[in-house]
Amino acid sequence: MSVDLSPIDQSLLEEIASIHGMPKGAYNIRKDGQLLERNSSANIEISTKTDNPGIDIHIKPGTKGETVYIPVILTASGLKDVVYNSFYVGENCDVNIIAGCGIHNSCDQDSEHDGIHSFYCGENSRVRYIEKHYGEGEGAGMRILNPVTNVYLEKNSYCEMELTQIRGVSSTVRDTNAEVGEGAKLVLNEKLLTHDEQTAVSNMKVELKGDDSSVQVISRSVAQGNSSQTFNPLVIGQAACRGHVQCDAIIMDKARVTAIPGIEAASEEAVLVHEAAIGKIAGDQIVKLMTLGLSEEEAEAEILEDFLS
């Protein structure tokens, strides 16, 4: 525990994982492509991968109430960090996984982090995964994040993923793939705010393979400035399953949002629904908040904050 965190490191970690200093329990903190500090717990073992850069996280069957932290920070410019993290969650677990990547780039060279995360959730397990992406720094260098998330849900397991990117990331292409087994449920909550010249693409492919499997995709986004966003979620129902995709975007300034929610049923017992709505902030919302004494700017900020909360 002798690692010195700079103030920039500390504030990045706080931003993406809400941790102050080193967390308790199992964690793995990666900085500029290197391991900074790692700790395994009695039930959660973190080890270095032998084939690729990255880590394997093994969670013992029956582990309940534990949280594992695996944040990544990038403060060096001109670095492209690719990392593979695999989570093997045993049966009957109930755990939280806090991930996230914070980039501080104050130079003119690009910084990039591509995290390839795979989750194997054992029978009857519950996993809550929280991932925050954040960028800062004055440099002209791009802050790029291209995460790939693969989720495999075994019988009756449940996985809830909160994927958030609020401000500061120049370019992102997010690929999320899931296979949902019998009685299992996946909840994907995606929150995104882009501004200036940023671009974001989110591709999702969820295969509902077992009877009584289900998925709920809720995407909320705000596009400001000249930024552009594309949503491409696809839910495929191959059994007696339920799928619901909801894309909701607020568009401002000269931004552009494309939403192409797709559903594909290969079973007559599949019930799949998708909704997409893109629009500016409703005038009656701003007016109501102004009647409560807020200025137009304050009202707008309040509405966006709640929308993405």
Binding site: Q285, K288, M290
Partner: protein
């Protein structure tokens, strides 16, 4: 005291058309402090527009508006809010992701203690245990939204409060609670003015003063004693508006007790 002097509000008859239509027609009226005023009259008579002109949501085409002696005709909505004008909308706005608690805090201009939130929600017949953490989005029914809108004005406690058809969409049981609340507001007004736009006889009965608005003009105004007996006649002139008792009895599953 609120005073409107020769206020008119015109809109284009059709989109892009040069021809205009008068919604509010050279209207002058005074609302005294410490008074409970009901504005009533036929649908489309301009009641909501009048309220929006007072709040600053709409700008008059001509005329002036004074509040406590200050000319507020060209003040922004927020400035008027800070001077003490509040408006509960006929059609309340919904907010995705905003909790009822947050909306009440914003209304009060500070973080409210739970006890205060309980009080405001109870006054509109909602159980705070159930509602404080609910989102003010389309998951709430029209009647629930309406009551939360009223609660925002209670939390704000403005010097001049305007409630726009607070009874709309509210079931009979909650309506009783609501009339009681307006009766309480009336007795606790302490110099504040309350304006309620309403068609409900039981709310009109609470009024000190009544204003009958039709075609953007005040067709009758005065103390409740003088206007009440004339309401039937005034309404008869207009086939679209008759005074109603709260007979629309839709039993909802909204818990009204805690």
């Amino acid at each position: 005291m609120l005073e409107l002097r020769n206020v008119s509000f015109e809109v284009a008859r059709e989109e892009g058309s040069k021809e205009t239509k008068r919604i509010i027609d050279n209207l002058s009226l005074t609302i005294e402090d410490d008074k409970f005023t009901v504005i009533t009259g036929p649908n489309g008579g301009g009641k909501s527009t009048l309220a929006k002109l007072i709040m600053g949501v709409e700008q008059p085409t001509s005329g002036q508006i004074f509040f406590d002696g200050v000319d507020i005709t060209h003040q922004s909505i927020a400035e008027r809010a800070k001077l003490g004008i509040g408006y509960g909308f006929q059609q309340p706005a919904r907010f995705k992701g905003m909790k009822v608690k947050k909306l009440l805090d914003l209304s009060a201009g500070k973080k409210l203690p739970m006890l205060a939130c309980n009080e405001y929600l109870t006054k509109v017949g909602l159980c705070s245990a159930t509602y404080l953490t609910r989102e003010v989005d389309k998951s709430l029914s029209g009647g629930e939204m309406k009551r939360i809108e009223i609660a925002t004005i209670l939390a704000r406690d403005p010097k001049l409060a305007i409630y726009d058809e607070p009874e709309a969409g509210i079931d009979l049981w909650s309506f009783d609670r609501l009339t009681e609340t307006f009766r309480d507001i009336h007795s606790a007004r302490n110099g504040r003015s309350i304006v309620i736009i309403s068609h409900q006889e039981r709310i009109i009965q609470l009024a000190d003063d009544i204003i009958w608005l039709k075609d953007g003009r005040v067709e009758a105004e005065g103390s409740a004693e003088t206007i009440m007996p004339r309401l039937g006649l005034l309404a008869k002139d207009n086939p679209f508006c008759t005074l109603t008792h709260p007979t629309e009895l839709h039993l909802t599953e909204i818990p009204t007790t805690c």
